[in-house]
Amino acid sequence: MEFLTFNQLVQLIVATPGAVFIGLSVAWLLGWPGKEKVVARVTAVTYIGLTILVAMLAWKMISSGTHMVTVDLGNWFEIAGYGFPLSLMVDRLSLPMVALTIVLVGLVGSFSIRYLHRDPGYFRFFLLMHLYAFGCLLLFTAGSLDLLIAGWEVVGITSVLLIAFFQYRKAPVDNAIRVFGTYRIADICLLLAVFLAHHWFGSGAWAVLFPGEWPNATHTITGPGMTFMAVLLVFAACGKSSQGPFMGWLPRAMEGPTPSSAIFYGAISVHAGAYLVLRIEPLLQSSPVARYLLMFVGLTTAVLATLIHRTSVDAKTSLAYASMTQLSVIFIEVSLGWTTLAILHTVGHAIVRTAQFLRAPSMLHDYHRMHAAAGGHLGKVGEQYEALVPHRVQLWLYSLGLERGCYDALVDRLLLHPLQRLARQLAVQKNSFTDPTPRQPAGETPSSLKPHA
């Protein structure tokens, strides 16, 4: 008899962080103060155990030549012929992401035990980290779009709550609201794609939509809905990976503590978008519109993000734009069909960026050490490409970079402010006979929706 079957391994891996989250939350709600030592030990044991489990899973898959493991847990709920499929899947795309998640969350957890020692939000951070790990594992092992969106949303909400981690300052909270807004708008695309998948193709399961083993899977999506669905999924991926029209949120997310920046915006969360486009790659190959859209988004974001990255003055913002640039390149790779390169790029980028984020607080110290080691003669680097363009263009690009591509200003001026003005005018002028309340002054803007300084 096998010690742990494939099914048991996958279920254990996904459920463990969720169970730890629930256990810690209930204990706290019942009055447990959330002692640092206990939290640290629970975290260490959890991720060491999970690393062993994922290693066992990988070993079993490799040794038995299994490329795909599916765990069918039936329907979460069902009614009148419609069911919410609860199936998990580990294949050559999701296994690296699962392993990456467990190892990096474990590392960041270990780092945070010291980094957040005696911080008032210590317990909250770990609680959210476990929930985040659960969301990520659910996202990467989801056997259907329906379950993917559950993980996707959990990752989103934990991300927002960690951006507002330093809740006693106003800026993180304002930025968290802005990020949450961006997420929600982008998530509409994913939700719509899920419901349309059911409506048009009768299922949201990967096995039905993309039969076969990744990366040699095909797709069963045909007809006029194909392009529409592919475009929706590309936009959803853009939202999670801060690309194209949704590129403004990533630097705002840097308000969170450094370990969360590392794990969310350097390592896993931002790569969820890349995972999604990799997963739907067979569909993209059949839909030129979606493929070219992905390429266009990748190219424009790469150019703009690298410009801003080069003019950013603080370490974390600079790293955020650098991440964005690499994600754009991954998007381009996927649009070209280079899936193996894209997944290698994803894994490599996540590891390097996590290390960079975790070193960011001691960057000045590192620089001084390097400076001293070089005998006080550190040469300038990174100006090779700038020298190729004329000086006037350089200046223009420089100011564009400093203005962060005017992204926030454009979104505020063209979208947010007109909507707010309209909402206020409607609230003032509505002649609803049931609500004759005197309104607040028309110029007053909710503080949380004011533009980012």
Binding site: L29, W76, F77, E78, I79, A80, Y82, F84, D146, I149, A150, G151, E153, V154, I157, V160, A164, Q167, Y168, R169, K170, V173, A176, I177, F180, G181, R184, I185, D187, I188, L191, L192, F195, L196, H198, H199, L419, Q420, R421, L422, A423, R424, L426, A427, K430, N431, S432, F433, T434, D435, P436, T437, Q440, E444, P446, S447, S448, L449
Partner: protein, 472 residues
């Protein structure tokens, strides 16, 4: 009266309504807040036990058939009304327990019991006359100034005006239809319009979307939330078969559908310019509750089941949200100013958790019952009317943003200097709110039982209204 297949062994519902009514009259004049709270809680616990007995008996009936009461047969219980009725009384119990001391007056507690007694007539009445009487009586505690106090009475005028108009429309519809199911003639067309008006007004459908926000602005928002969470407008549609309104309702659903959709989006959009927490809470409840009507109108069993589940979510989550808000407000009155961030999570972290979890359930976060409900609802909506699903998605997204804004205003940011020392959730607050949170979270993680429970009701509604085959 429509035929019921069997009789209950005891008039459980009459006993419940009488107990609530007697409690309301007895407690109204009570001057000791603690005694009033204790007495109201005891009466409500008794009503819960009686209704539970009725529901259990009905659930054991063959095919979950409708069961009428013996001795006069004024009331009936079936798959549609049994669970919501019990839930509503439980929410009233939560309201009574969580209400801060300043609200726990005799008239407040008596008023809560009065609303329950009147609502039971609407939930379970076997005749249209009984339902109309119950409908009118639900606002009596507001008219008798039980909840607001003279200082805030003007805020309840909107509720009373809307209620009077809705009651008038329903009464006129009942008079036109009479005791028999009508053929589709002029009288039934007018009756249909009147039913649409009554339901739209009561559910806060545009242009009557502002009354709840207005009611929330003055006095205790708990009473307004309880009044709204009866969802009597939706209930009238669901009980159409029992009230000879079936033919009328089938046509009415079509018009209400678009009204509900517009309301969901419009109120969500209005909140963009809103800063007052109480008004935001009111608009949020109206917007999310409009989804219930949209789901009922989806004409699909999955959509109807989604709407019935969402009913549970909206009722539980909005009660918990409003109760948490009121509890925090009772500790620090500065929360009414909606501009600054107050940072109250530093003082009341558990309250912050209750608020966030129930709010996220209300807007359908995965892992909560709200997600299951919305998933079913969107599925049904897309099957019947794809545009409906798209619009609902937009409204949910906006509502989630507003919820987070509200949470930030109350609980995040630097702790305001004027915030006094205050206790976190007291035991009498903690346990009822934990119960609400557990219901929406456990119900979301293991929704099978609840979905099954509402599936029977959805089937019954779809069959009785002839929706499944597009007969409307």
């Amino acid at each position: 009266m429509p035929e019921a297949t069997s009789l209950l062994s005891f008039p459980w519902i009459s006993a419940s309504a009488l107990a609530a009514l007697a409690g309301a009259i007895g407690i109204w004049r009570c001057t000791d807040p603690d005694r009033a709270r204790r007495s109201a809680a005891l009466v409500l616990a008794g009503v819960v036990a009686l209704l539970l007995a009725a529901m259990l008996e009905q659930s054991r009936a063959v095919d979950s058939a409708r069961m009428a009461e013996p001795w006069g047969g004024l009331f009936e219980v079936d798959a549609v009304n049994g669970f919501p009725m019990l839930l509503y009384v439980l929410l009233a119990l939560v309201t009574v327990l969580v209400a801060p001391r300043r609200d726990a007056s005799g008239p407040f507690m008596g008023g809560v019991l009065g609303i329950i007694a009147a609502s039971l007539l609407v939930y379970a009445g076997r005749s249209l006359a009984l339902i109309v009487i119950g409908w009118w009586l639900t606002a009596l505690p507001f008219a008798l100034n039980g909840f607001a106090g003279s200082r805030h009475l003007r805020h309840h005028r909107s509720l009373l005006l809307v209620h009077a108009l809705a009651g008038g429309a329903l009464t006129a519809a009942a008079l036109m239809i009479g005791p028999r199911a009508p053929d589709f003639d002029h009288a039934s067309t007018v009756a249909m319009v009147l039913v649409v008006i009554a339901v739209a007004l009561r559910k806060g459908i545009f242009p009557a979307h502002g009354w709840l926000a207005r009611t929330f602005e003055g006095g205790s928002p708990l009473a307004g939330a309880l009044f709204f969470n009866g969802h009597l407008g939706a209930l009238i549609l669901l009980r159409a078969e029992s009230t000879h309104l079936a033919a009328t309702v089938q046509t009415a659903l079509h018009y209400l559908n678009w009204g509900a959709l517009f309301t969901a989006v419009f109120t969500a959009f209005l909140m963009l310019g809103e800063t007052k927490p109480r008004r935001m809470l009111g608009l949020l409840c109206v917007s999310q509750a409009a989804f219930i009507l949209a789901g009922l109108c989806s004409a699909q069993e999955a959509g109807i089941a989604g709407a019935l589940l969402l009913w549970v979510v909206v009722a539980v989550a909005s009660t918990a949200l409003v109760a948490t808000y009121r509890a925090v407000e009772a500790r620090f009155t500065g929360v009414e100013d909606g501009i600054a961030m107050l940072g109250l999570a530093a003082r009341t972290p558990r309250m912050a958790v209750f608020f966030l979890v129930s709010g996220l359930a209300l807007v359908g976060l995965p892992g909560t019952l709200g997600y299951c409900a919305e998933d079913l609802l969107y599925h049904g909506a897309l099957e019947s009317e794809p545009l409906l699903g798209v619009v609902l998605l937009l409204a949910t997204a906006l509502n989630a943003i507003h919820l987070f804004r509200l949470f930030s205003h109350l609980f995040l940011g630097r702790l305001a200097a004027e915030v006094p020392e205050m206790p976190d959730a007291l035991p009498r607050e903690r346990w009822p709110l934990t119960l609400c949170v557990v219901l929406v979270v456990a119900g979301g993680l293991m929704p099978h039982r609840l979905v099954q429970l509402r599936e029977a009701a959805a089937k019954q509604v779809a069959e009785k209204l002839g929706l499944e085959h597009g007969e409307h």
